[in-house]
């Protein structure tokens, strides 16, 4: 189900009212021309699932927080922020996985620069 960014909270609230009370995951995908954010929700009692997709412009990634609807969204939104650089409106964000990260960019974006690999330096003390 693809929806507009403005209708996100509304749609999720509606789904929750229908019985989709369980948030499985919020995943982001970088499609280069756009960034889509997927909300996987589940109706546990009837064993049904639904996916809500929001497409964002890579240069304008502000997204409303859905924590008021699903409390479980908290940590997922934080990872979304640090992994995709998606700005979450309406809440304070503290970095989660990359708390002391001082590199540039968001790691899961396709244009992320890795830095130089193969920096191995073997010490001469090797015994075993």
């Amino acid at each position: 189900m693809k929806i507009e960014r403005g209708k996100l909270i509304e749609t999720l609230k509606e789904l929750k009212g229908k019985g989709y009370k369980y948030l499985v995951k919020i995943a982001g995908v970088d499609n280069i021309n756009s960034i889509s954010v997927l909300y996987f929700v589940r109706d546990i009692d009837n064993n049904k699932e639904e996916v809500v997709e929001v497409e964002l412009d890579p240069n304008d990634t502000a997204l409303p927080s859905v924590e008021e609807v699903y409390k479980a969204a908290d940590w997922y939104e934080r990872t979304l922020y640090e992994m995709f650089g998606i700005e979450i409106k309406g809440r304070q964000i503290r970095r989660l996985l990359l708390e002391k990260w001082n590199g540039k960019g968001a790691p899961l974006r396709k244009n992320f620069e890795w830095g130089a690999p193969y920096e191995t330096k073997q010490s001469k003390k090797a015994v075993a």
Binding site: W75, L96, L108
Partner: protein, 363 residues
């Protein structure tokens, strides 16, 4: 007046490197703030830059207590992207191996939880001894103690060794006896009961709202198990019954895992009776190359810690995007909710009952 203490990231009871900032009022916990990411290594990013066959090895290291579970989840996603059917015998073999892995994982949890409760390593040593017997069985099949790399699209890397059934049944008899003994030992201990019953209560509503998963969810009275709700492999033929407890406390979570071990033992025995003859070997690694472009695949698997969910956008040589929902990640986010109001000593009992693997949290 409250004091803040910092626990971890190097602490004997955090099962890896987890840092908890605990706010205490006397001995009562006011709030717990987990700081994670000490093991973050970017599996999702690395997976986008690796071939399909290379990724199998990376998936195993997500959950090093039960490596085969992720091995299987990822290979199932690749299978779906390639449109390969799993062979009938391979289905049973995978079920048997996954359940053995689950028993091994739960045994490790039992030992470490007893350790968290202040037992001087005794149960820990015993469960490690028992777990080792299962690891030896898996080693016979896969050739490795920990990282098996034994799943291949369409089947497994090789058929079960000739005396595998006999050995397994022997080990299962032994382990069933031991589990009953441990159960008796713990549940007849008044101190153990007092330290787990009514501690860290998570109600059914909160469990769903906060997205708890696996034994934590089932301990809160929610009858949801991927093995029965979205049956895969041979689970529906083996008559799998999800184990549910209703109290939602540490004891319920403990009991769910104990019952799960017994259910797994029953299922493995059943599977050996029903296993069909035939070919079980999957395709060699060099052929793993889904032809579909931009095919979206979702896979749900019940790992010992809870439901793993893989969302994969397949590309020709490597996944375009591989998003993994790990059960420990979401179970750890509950900690503030369930530890509030309990004592400092209970915090470690609660952490133990959640059965966290830190690499699973940090991905």
């Amino acid at each position: 007046m409250t004091t803040k203490i910092n626990i971890g990231p190097i602490h004997p009871s955090t099962h890896g490197v987890l840092r908890l900032v605990v706010e205490l009022d006397g001995d009562t916990i006011v709030g717990v703030e987990p700081h994670i990411g000490f093991l973050h290594r970017g599996v999702e990013k690395l997976a986008e830059n690796r071939m399909y066959m290379q990724n199998i090895g990376y998936m195993e290291k997500i959950d090093y207590v039960a490596p085969m579970a992720y091995d299987d989840a990822y290979v199932a996603a690749v299978e779906e992207a390639m449109g390969v059917e799993v062979k009938e015998r391979a289905k049973y073999i995978r079920t048997i191996l996954l359940e053995l892995q689950r028993i091994a994982s739960h045994l490790l949890w039992l030992g470490t939880m007893a350790n968290d409760l202040g037992q001087f390593y005794t149960l820990f040593m015993w469960t490690f001894r028992d777990r080792d017997k299962i690891l030896r069985l898996l080693q016979e099949h896969a050739g490795a103690r920990m990282f098996y790399l034994n799943m291949r699209p369409g089947g497994v890397v090789r058929d079960l060794p000739p005396d595998f059934e006999e050995n397994t049944l022997q080990v299962l008899d032994y382990i069933e006896k031991r589990i009953t003994e441990y159960e008796h030992y713990l549940e007849s201990n008044q101190v153990f009961i007092e330290r787990t019953k009514g501690i860290g209560v998570l109600s059914r509503e909160m469990a769903i709202e906060l997205g708890a998963t696996g034994p934590v969810l089932r301990g809160s009275g929610v009858n949801y198990d991927t093995r029965s709700n979205k049956p895969y492999y041979a689970y529906s033929e083996l008559g799998f019954r999800p184990q549910v407890m209703f109290a939602g406390d540490s004891f319920a979570r403990y009991k769910v895992r104990m019952l799960e071990m017994k259910e797994s033992i029953r299922m493995v025995r059943e599977a050996f009776k029903k296993i069909p003859e035939g070919d079980a070997v999957g395709m060699p690694v060099r052929l793993i190359m889904p032809q579909a472009k931009n095919k979206i695949v979702t896979v749900n698997r019940e790992t010992p810690r809870g439901e793993a969910f893989i969302y994969m956008i397949a590309d020709k040589e490597r996944p375009y995007r591989l998003s993994i929902r790990t059960p420990s990640f979401i179970n750890l986010s509950l900690i503030n909710e369930i530890a509030k109001g309990s004592r400092l000593a209970d915090l470690f009992a609660i952490l133990g009952s959640l059965d966290l693997v830190m690499a699973d949290v940090d991905l």
